[in-house]
Symmetry: C2
Subunit: 226 residues, 2 copies
C-alpha cells in the first residue's frame, strides 16, 4: 500500500517506519521538502520524503498528523485526496487541569467537511507515541486497542488492517460521528497519563469476556474485539 504522512513529527515518523517495515511504500511529507527528505533519510527502509503535496499525491492512505490544519489550507491541490483514505490521529490540546471542553464536533468530522470526497477515518489517537516503540513485538502480547471510526466500511477495514499488522487490536467503532466518543477516549487516556501521572505507557483496551455459560463449560480466555 502507498502511505503518505502529512506532517512528519513524532507520531508520523513512528507509524511511517512501522508501516515501511511491513513492506508498505511510505512517503514523508512536510511543508519544507528538505525536512521531508531528512525524515525519510532518518527512517530508511526504502521510504521517500518531500513536500506535503507530494506525499498527498503519492499515497492511497494518508496519515493526517497536523491538527486543525485543513487540507484546503495546507495543500495546493486538496482534490488529490478525493477517494483516498485519510487517517486522523489527532487530539485537542490539553487544557489547564485537564478540564476538557465537551466535544460537540470531532476533529475528524471537521477534517471530513473540508475534504468531502475523501474517506476520513479516526484512529491512533488513544496512545502516546512511545507505545509505538514496542510495535509490533512485544506490543502484540498486550492487546492494546486502536479504535477505528469512519463512514466507509472498506476504509475502516483497511485502517484496521494497518493497525493489526503493527501489533494492535483494532476495534471497529462505527461511523465517523463516533469519532466524538473516540476523541473522548483520547482525552481520558491523556488525563491518566499526565493528570494521574501513570506515564506514557498507559493504554486502553476493550475486551470481550467469556459469558457466564462459557465459564461453566470450562472457560476461555477473554478475547479482544475484531
Amino acid at each position: 500500500m502507498k502511505i503518505g504522512i502529512i506532517g512528519s513529527g513524532n507520531m508520523g515518523r513512528s507509524l511511517g517506519i512501522l508501516w515501511a517495515e511491513q513492506g508498505h511504500e511510505v512517503f514523508f511529507g512536510s511543508r519544507d521538502a528538505e525536512k521531508g527528505k531528512a525524515t525519510a533519510e532518518f527512517a530508511g527502509r526504502g521510504t521517500q520524503g518531500g513536500t506535503n503535496d507530494q506525499a498527498a499525491a503519492f499515497a492511497d492512505v494518508i496519515l493526517w498528523t497536523v491538527r486543525s490544519i485543513m487540507p484546503k489550507e495546507l495543500l495546493s491541490h486538496p482534490e488529490v485526496l478525493d477517494n483516498k483514505i485519510i487517517i486522523d490521529c489527532n487530539n485537542q490540546d490539553i487544557p489547564e487541569g485537564f478540564a476538557y471542553p465537551p466535544i460537540v464536533e470531532s476533529l475528524a468530522e471537521k477534517l471530513a467537511k473540508d475534504i468531502p470526497q475523501a474517506q476520513v477515518v479516526k484512529a491512533f489517537n488513544t496512545m502516546a507515541q512511545e507505545v509505538f516503540e514496542l510495535a509490533p513485538e512485544p506490543l502484540k502480547d498486550y492487546g492494546v486497542s486502536v479504535f477505528v471510526a469512519g463512514d466507509d466500511e472498506q476504509a475502516r477495514k483497511t485502517v484496521m488492517g494497518l493497525a493489526e499488522e503493527i501489533g494492535f487490536l483494532a476495534v471497529d467503532s462505527g461511523v465517523l460521528r463516533n469519532a466524538r466518543l473516540v476523541e473522548g477516549l483520547g482525552d481520558f487516556i491523556r488525563l491518566i497519563i499526565g493528570g494521574q501521572k501513570q506515564g506514557v505507557y498507559a493504554t486502553i483496551s476493550v475486551n470481550v469476556l467469556p459469558t457466564a455459560s462459557e465459564q461453566r463449560l470450562g472457560g476461555r480466555q477473554a478475547s479482544s474485539l475484531k
Copy 2:
C-alpha cells in the same frame, strides 16, 4: 462497612449481593418498603431491605442507581447523606443511533450539587450488569477497570477498595469533574456493546505497559493501574 443501595434494580441487586458476600452489611432501599424487603429476601446473605430513607440512614456508603432523581426529591431527610460516600453508577439514556449529546456536566456533578455535604464518587458505569455475574472469580483474571472519580481522596480510595474486593481493577481517575470523561467511557462501551453488537461482555481496561527499557531488561507483564 455499611452499604445502602438506593433503587434496587439489576445493578444495585448485583453489587449489593457481591458486597454482602465480602462481609459488608447491605441494606436494599426502594420507594416501596415491601419491594426493598423482597430484594433482601431474594439476596439473602444477611442483607436487609426497606425504604430508600432507611437505606440512606443506615449506610456509610450509598450506591445511587436512580438516574437523574435527586436526593432532595427522593428522600424525606436528604441531610442524612451529609459526610457519607455516594457512588453514582449511572449513564445517560442511549439516544437514537448512539448519537450521544456532548457532556457539559456529568450526572455525578449534578448529584453532588444536590447534596454538597456528601462525597459523590463516580464509578461502576462502564460495564453491563451481566459482568457482575463473573465477580469476583473469574473476573479477577480479566483485568476489567472500574474508573473512580471524586473530589475527596479518601472517598475515592474507599470506593476503589470496594471495586477491587469484588474482582475489578480500580483506576484512580481524579476529581469529580473528570466524571464527564468517565461518563464518556460509559457512552463508548455501550456503543460497542449495542451499536457494534459486541454484546454485554465487552469491557474496558486501562493497562500500563512495560517501558522499552524494561523490555530490554527481560520484560515484565503489563500491569493494571492502581
